[in-house]
């Protein structure tokens, strides 16, 4: 990254954020997790999104955590179920019924 670009980013992006270090990053991470798991209350969300508008550290965490979730969902391959599995379970169950 060039020096000019770096200072441009600093001036135009980072400076918009009042805080570059979060006073309570650990708590924010917990709330973020609950939000990304769709288990948060509307109040938690409102508070959190107001906070990341001003907190650079948490804004970065938000993007990273969201990306990790998407990565896990998208990149981990599903293994196809073996063709004969349901059939063999049904056979075993029939044996149980006959007994």
């Amino acid at each position: 990254m060039t020096k000019t670009l770096q200072s441009w980013i600093k001036k135009n992006i980072i400076s918009r954020y009042a805080m570059t270090n979060c006073p309570d990053e650990e708590r924010c991470l917990h709330v973020l997790e609950v939000i990304l798991d769709n288990e948060s209350t509307p109040e938690e969300e409102q508070e959190y999104f107001e906070h990341i508008d001003q907190c650079w550290a948490c804004y970065k965490n938000y993007n990273l955590e969201k990306a990790i979730r998407e990565l896990i969902k998208r990149k981990i391959e599903k293994k196809p179920v073996p063709d004969d599995l349901v059939k063999s379970i049904k056979l075993e169950i029939e044996k149980l019924v006959i007994e």
């Binding site: 997790e33 288990e39 990565l71 179920v81 599995l85 075993e92």
Partner: protein, 198 residues
């Protein structure tokens, strides 16, 4: 008598059993097999585990209420099967005892927030295998909560029932699991040169 499951036992005829299996149980076989595979890392073992689970489901079908969460009910049986039969049988005995695991959960290393140099664009370059490895190298209890939550989309209360632990423990275990996963991804990115050594 105070047990819900006792008072609500449902009777099924043979035909009804078949109907429940076709309508509510077999549709989850894909998720079940993948869960079993990610617990055992072996195709045959995964097949056995899934088959045992369905046979148990058949035997204990009276404790299943039609129309309730079949997937969570089946996952709970599978998880118990894995712990009771599988872990015992497996060649390598489980090295982790419960105390050890819980103290690990509560240790500061796992718990501290990580100021990470992992970046969103770094993640975009990662391959499926690398992501799988990052997940697979987590201890089974941590791996399990990530699978249940992120891959299978279970809610905290469903996970609590599947794992027989309080919701608070689900949340703290998930939090630690995610910290460890993030750290694995970061280390991986570093080894692969996605992150420049500084």
């Amino acid at each position: 008598m105070n047990q819900m499951s006792e008072t609500k036992r449902q009777q099924y005829s043979v035909d009804e059993k078949a109907k429940v299996f076709d309508g509510e149980f077999y549709p989850h076989i894909d998720s079940m097999y993948n869960f079993a595979y990610r617990l055992t890392f072996d195709e045959d073992d995964a097949k056995d585990l899934v088959q045992d689970t369905y046979l148990k489901a058949f035997r204990f079908i009276e404790s299943f209420q039609e129309g309730t969460n079949a997937k969570a009910w089946l996952f709970r049986i599978l998880k118990n099967n894995f712990i009771n039969d599988f872990r015992k049988k497996s060649k390598e005995p489980s090295k982790v005892d419960y105390q050890e695991v819980e103290s690990y959960y509560n240790s500061d290393d796992v718990n501290k927030s990580i100021t990470t140099d992992l970046r969103v664009d770094t993640l975009k370059d990662m391959m499926g295998d690398e992501v799988s490895t990052a997940l697979n190298t987590l201890d089974v209890d941590f791996r399990t909560v990530i699978i249940l939550c992120d891959l299978e989309g279970f809610k905290y209360d469903e996970m609590a029932r599947i794992l027989d632990i309080p919701i608070g423990t689900v949340r703290s275990r998930l939090h630690r699991a995610r910290n460890l996963l993030r750290e694995n991804l970061r280390l991986y990115a570093k080894t692969m040169g996605y992150i420049k050594k500084s």
